[in-house]
Symmetry: C2
Subunit: 152 residues, 2 copies
Amino acid sequence: MQLSSRFTIAVHVFACIEIFKNQYKITSDFLASSINVNPVIIRKLLGQLKEADLIVVQRGSGGANLAKSAEQITLLDIYNAVECVDHGNLFHFHENPNQNCPVGKNIHSALDGQLFRIQSAMENEMKRITIAEIINDIKLKIRENDPSEDSI
Amino acid sequence: MQLSSRFTIAVHVFACIEIFKNQYKITSDFLASSINVNPVIIRKLLGQLKEADLIVVQRGSGGANLAKSAEQITLLDIYNAVECVDHGNLFHFHENPNQNCPVGKNIHSALDGQLFRIQSAMENEMKRITIAEIINDIKLKIRENDPSEDSI
DNA sequence: TTTCGTTGTAACTATTGATTTTACAACAAA
DNA sequence: TTTGTTGTAAAATCAATAGTTACAACGAAA
């Protein structure tokens, strides 16, 4: 099972905010058109990112901006903000193992530590990558593929 | 979004096979009762594990056994066998970013490398853990909590 | 103070995938 | 040929994501 697309959509949102902030007002319609999803999906996502203090959204007049510099925002921050993982656990344990079976009774506690190690390995890697790096990569690709986009 | 419970159920299956193989015939009903799910769920899961050459299942007479030693089976082997991840990708990309937007056009290729690094970190950690270790941990817990289970 | 574009949110639908359940043919050994 | 299993199909249920419409609340600017 794959993780939801909210995470990659959120990264896309950050990239648009940073890259277009001097040219356009970053509304949910603007973002929705770049990402190609319904504006309401974006507004809900922006709500989660705002809740996590990663962005600021103007009511009324409209527009989203980063709440801190792109160097200070990691992929883990974004992941934690939008991926609703049950109690922070990536792995889903089957609910009711038979407590009368020695294995059923002990599997959970025996496995928990190892699953935590695996999840931590993933999260530590996410923590190392900032959206500033991602945005930089995107800008490089744009200059490479579309030198005409001189404003970026 | 969490991964499916098939993975932890599969680990539970391996633990039962190894721990009870000298006492009981390991049928899908036996496993289903320890795990507390429907036997058909187990039979489908056993099918995936068999397909990946991790276990052997006797038709007719019944019973499952490991296809190789527990030291040779890693959590990654099990994960790959049962977690149907699209093209091996943990992360789900939103389908149709706007190709007329410089960000929409380049986000995918710019992000792919980083997502691969994250996923690899997780998979490398999984590769380091064998089910022999897990089974050992479970046996320790059993002796700790139920010294009466002398047969284990 | 009215208008305008926008956000926040509710309500509903659709879709996807996991999970459960019943049923039964195929199978192998006793 | 009986018995206990596995393999598998089909259908039902459930949960989460994803998409859509609608509209009140909001803030700035006319």
